[in-house]
Assembly symmetry: C2
Homo-oligomer: 420 residues x 2
């Protein structure tokens, strides 16, 4: 993590700040030589071995967008990825989307940045790009971009799971961008400018805002709570666990012949899971804890201990039943119940106003990075659909799968290995 | 502002923190004696001369909810306001929604708090309550609660403005609650628990999340930016300006005979204003600045100076036109163009996913507090509809008006003067 400078901090000082705004009007970032530490000034390098936004400490805010590619030209697609790469590197560094910036350009041209992030620091922004199955073969099976023979075997539409109530305008997509930041205005600014740059080549298919990260991705982060009020992601794969990352998150060089370009990348599963929170809120504490299999306060398994104590699924309870019920969520999704399947979860809470029943349109926007969805996600989701008591309170309304290429090297563009 | 304690901070320490969670499990707030300062620990008193959340320094996040009253019983309505008052006082103090809390109650009862804010500090939460026209007379004109003769003359549905494209499920409401906080999870938790408490008496009609406050309400706050990329609210009425507050925000004791109970309160205008940002982003910088009438970077009027310099509407420009165009937003809405009308604006940016055209469903959730909407809001809105160049990029999809009673005294409930 690199600490930068907040122009907002500089501008807070009153009249003297106006001159500074002019002097540094090119972008969002002031001269690092005058840097002072402050909130939101985290910066993560855009280039590296893996894309940022996976093992990066989970930021508090999300704007996720899925795009349809509206051109049939491979050259235009590649050109867009080049433009997106340059813009992403600038914005994650705290700069403007374009080289000129929001206010310094010619008056007779549209600005190359939309301006709502002027004065805001980098805010830990990460931009993570993925490719959907439709980029390789569209719905009719057409190989629009000459990529069909490079489609990884596991990059295909997820199966229909029992209980799915998918809404078309929240599902699928040829490309995705996950924008995470400490400030939603910074995340929204990034997605909006990438969409602007892509006008004529891509169109937003759906987008989702989230808050209150529901997972920790590093050992130093505490475990946050989802809208059921429970700690979520206690058993997450974390950045420090190289073994688990290698086994369950990063795609290996030999995992897939057609998808060899994806080595060092990952798969991103996105699921918009509505919670029927009004119904949940009328359940007793004991019922809620039995459904989850954990204590609501501490997050400890019902078999005892602390949050991180492994659950004892064999411990007997009353009525000849185990103390952790057979249909408790923690049991159904546990690696020991699913052939060792694990994921790096990175989801967010969402509230999108009101649903048709007068309840909150709220829930968990589930994001998980896995080495192979066939082994690390699908079996767990099927087990949940089959026997998880929590399913009564869940309704999945959106779903998508993307291949997230490895990190972007110097001089490269996002996903370059796929096109060479 | 009172500084409190962050349980999140205390819980960050690892294993030793588990004991603390048990010891202080009753609510969200730990023993103030162990307080340490930290982010999000602002607290604002719930009781006072005026409701908090009006001149309170604008927090960064919003969850706004409008409710329909589903009972015809005045007693049930009053009982709800009493319950809401107690819950609001607890939550704005950093506590749980109910006296027992999320995890300390009997296992065979639903918890009296939903738990997702466990560990989160007060985060500057304010809860501001308002009464809609329907509380006094419903759509059929029925006086459901014996309040018809106390309906203030100005508390009626706003007129239809040219360009309004109102959506029923985003418009109106018998009651409203504005929850503002630095953390969206805290604001969402508050609205969700008030809705839970009101189950059977009220139902959420619509709700709206917002981020990136678009106004400053105190002199110390910098001016934020809306999604057009421009500073917004430069000329806002601010907390320090007692004269303007008395003239334009607080209802006077003699303003309205029927509405004498509203003295010391205000009117809250809520308007969900979609921006066609994709179209806006294709305009040149000069066009954008001409439409707004201000420089995009500094916020200074096109007639020169700094952000706070009064605009010179007479200053000549080129082509025999004034330098600030005749249809520029800053001119059309200026008090000098509208008989001195002023408002205390407190709006937020919003992005609610994607619209039917594949653009972002994004814009400004406009909130303004005024002494009388007839004099301080309607004329300005009509002037905008008539001649503001900005209107081409705006589409108002939701609208509501509420009377916001004065502050809650010791031993009183919200809006008590209306019922006595």
């Amino acid at each position: 993590m690199v600490r930068g400078v907040s122009r907002r901090g500089l501008l807070g000082g009153g009249a003297a700040a106006v001159g500074l705004a002019g002097a540094y009007g090119l972008g969002r970032v002031d001269d690092p030589a005058t840097a002072t530490a402050g909130a939101g000034e985290e910066r993560y390098p855009f280039r590296g071995e893996h894309q940022a936004g996976i093992v990066t400490p989970a930021q508090d805010r999300l704007h996720f967008a899925a795009f349809d590619v509206t051109t049939d030209s491979r050259d235009e697609l590649v050109a867009l990825l080049q433009l997106w790469t340059a813009a992403a590197e600038r914005m994650t560094g705290g700069g403007a989307a374009g080289p000129v910036g929001p206010v310094e350009g010619a008056a007779d041209l549209p600005p190359d940045d939309t301006g709502e992030a002027i004065g805001l620091p980098a805010s830990g922004l990460t931009l993570t790009f993925g490719f959907g199955p439709g980029l390789f073969r569209d719905a009719a099976g057409t190989d629009r971009f000459g990529l069909a023979d490079r489609q990884p075997a596991s990059l295909k539409d997820l199966p229909h799971f029992p209980g799915d109530q998918l809404v078309g305008r929240r599902t699928g997509g040829d490309l995705c961008v996950q924008a995470c930041a400490q400030d939603p205005q910074v995340a929204v600014h990034a997605i909006r400018n990438l969409a602007r740059i892509g006008f004529g080549t891509v169109a937003i298919r759906w987008s989702q805002l989230g808050f209150g990260r529901t997972s920790s991705t590093t050992a130093a982060q505490d475990t946050p709570r989802n809208l059921f009020g429970f700690k979520d992601g206690t058993a997450n794969v974390r950045a420090e666990d190289d073994t688990a990352l290698g086994e369950h998150v990063w795609v290996g060089a030999d995992d897939d012949a057609a998808g060899s370009w994806l080595a060092g990348g990952s798969y991103l599963v996105a699921r918009r899971i509505n919670m029927t929170i009004e119904t949940w809120d009328r359940q007793t504490l004991a019922e809620q804890e039995g459904i989850v299999g954990r204590a609501k306060g501490t997050g400890a398994p019902l078999s005892g201990g602390e949050e991180t104590t492994p659950p004892d699924f064999a411990m007997p309870g009353s009525n000849d039943q185990p103390v952790i019920p057979v249909d408790a969520h923690v049991r159904v999704v546990h690696p020991s119940s699913n052939g060792g399947a694990q994921m790096l979860r990175r989801g967010y809470n969402f509230v999108d106003g009101t649903n048709e029943l007068g309840g909150l349109d709220a829930g968990l926007f589930f994001l998980a990075f896995v080495r192979d969805p066939e082994t690390d996600f699908v079996p767990v989701q099927l087990a949940m659909a089959r026997s998880d008591a929590l399913m009564e309170y869940l309704r999945t309304t959106g779903s998508a799968l993307f291949a997230v290429p490895a990190g972007v090297g110097e001089g490269e563009h996002v996903g370059q290995a796929l096109f060479t």
